[in-house]
Symmetry: C2
Subunit: 363 residues, 2 copies
Amino acid sequence: MLEQFHVPEQDAVRVDEDSLRKMVVSLFEKVGVPSDDAALGADALVTADLRGVDSHGVSNMLRYYIAGFNSGDITANPLVKTIRESLATATLDCDGGLGIIIAPKAMDMAIEKAKHTGMGMVTMRNGRHLGMASYHAMRALDHNMIGICMTAVGPAVVPTFGKEPRLGTNPIAVAVPAANQHPFVLDFATSVVPVNKMRLAERIGSVIPGGWIADTAGVPIMQEGPAPEYAPGQLNLLPLGSNREGGSHKGYGLAGFVEILCGILSGGGFAGMGGQRGDSRHMVAAYSIDAFSPVDEFKAMMDEWMDYLKSTPPADGHERVLVPGQPEHEEETDRRSRGIPLHKEVIQWFRDISEELEVPYVL
Amino acid sequence: MLEQFHVPEQDAVRVDEDSLRKMVVSLFEKVGVPSDDAALGADALVTADLRGVDSHGVSNMLRYYIAGFNSGDITANPLVKTIRESLATATLDCDGGLGIIIAPKAMDMAIEKAKHTGMGMVTMRNGRHLGMASYHAMRALDHNMIGICMTAVGPAVVPTFGKEPRLGTNPIAVAVPAANQHPFVLDFATSVVPVNKMRLAERIGSVIPGGWIADTAGVPIMQEGPAPEYAPGQLNLLPLGSNREGGSHKGYGLAGFVEILCGILSGGGFAGMGGQRGDSRHMVAAYSIDAFSPVDEFKAMMDEWMDYLKSTPPADGHERVLVPGQPEHEEETDRRSRGIPLHKEVIQWFRDISEELEVPYVL
């Protein structure tokens, strides 16, 4: 359902990725982000846009990041500290720095460790928004490694049988290389839907399917209908599985697992513990394929398996079976050639912010 | 819903865990399993029974294992080979040996590696039934480590938009130690329900909730009703999330992730590739808490977080919010004191098999 977040064609202006990258770099640099970091952050954002994950691209996130840098809620030039380290592991304190910039560096640490020991994992505390989790996981692909990335965020999800949100939407991303096939890339919130999708439904006043949210008494709403009114800022998202019979204890447990690996293992605390505004906690891990199996054999088997899944006879009403990462890969192919569609209002925002921050407008 | 598999009190005979362990050891030894292996396998089975996971205990699995050893589908005294190894990783060929016996040894390897490097992971190919996945994950607890275990099994789950099962129910287990709280133990099939629960519903002719299965055209059945008739042996279980709007692509992707880590990374192939009868592929991993954070601080924060989750105000119609591992912990406390309830028919089976195999009946 990538397309739910896409700009209607008549409102879209197509921009090429290089210009967009330059534009973002200038803005980041202007608010105090060092050049190399600005380039990293721009790549994370633009990659999300290229892959059709508009919810984590420039349109949705950049103004929030700029505001955060300006208010000091996000540290523009953080002093990232290694708190603890072993041959295969490390824990970093992010000093309030932005996840889209620090997590790639943490992944590079994990990759270096994995070259030596077979695998590497880095947890991060005191972080800020991670962006598209699969961006960081995918960094492992060129090294013939499997990449994993998770982030634990503020409470928006009710535990099974509970009526208050006590867990974040805590996404999990996995990236696995293949030979001739596109990589297997999984990237999903452990709630039924992410916050963005719910906010979008609220904004456009759309009817939402059953199974997405609980009512204010904590009871899963299993029929479609309009979103109920909550206390300001509150969302009672349901864990993946929706209700107990549908397996919501599994989504709840997965969200908890992410909290443990990101928040508790890093010493960074948990959702609801009362951290800094916008605080989030992350982890990245890299697994060297060569440490388990010959790389060529692994990749050939990935191809064979993905072909096997794609060749599943489709269910009535559907034309094809997809594998994780396929829609984003197809979108990326299209956008690399045709440009990234931005809403004309976003283009106007770029014009305005360029003028305000006195950086050249290059889109 | 542990209780769904429990023996009705009027049909139950309580046995103590030591006798049950001895009984299982004798039977395993008699069919050719070496003594140490027999003790390991008995511990895995009896631990499942103690924790109320009757689907993976003696009642449901032992006769299948004994038959497998006798037919040769399961190798009683396998020659387990290390195919590849690095500082933090290894791949084993299980030689058709039983997962409940080999996976604990693989976990011990992973734990040893984690002591040195911070974490360890072992994949296994050419394996047989793994039993209760959390048994293996929980082995890490006494070492102040986080344990993970997964197993990839034969096809029973339809991909999102597909009409034929091409993935296993591929469970994921996670065990995490706390200080005064019981451990956090998550253990779940990546389908909405496991095969056993579906077979049970078929057997007792019960109406099943919507969202568990697809019809023979691959369309998710979202209303409750009787199970449809499939081709012999076929089950069209739905991935966690049930349908696309409920997030089934997430459950589908998770099942695929398990297939990759267990089957493809070990070189053992994938569901539907045409392996040996009963073939399954596993992985275990151990993460040393001390490699990331001080153990005492981690465990204290686990306690605090689990208290926080348990203290969530309950939704209307519910009395309390549970955390993963809590029902099993409560069941274990009860069964350690009152004994393990076995169905009188299972007791009779033990009498019969003891006579047939000429081992002393000790229950």
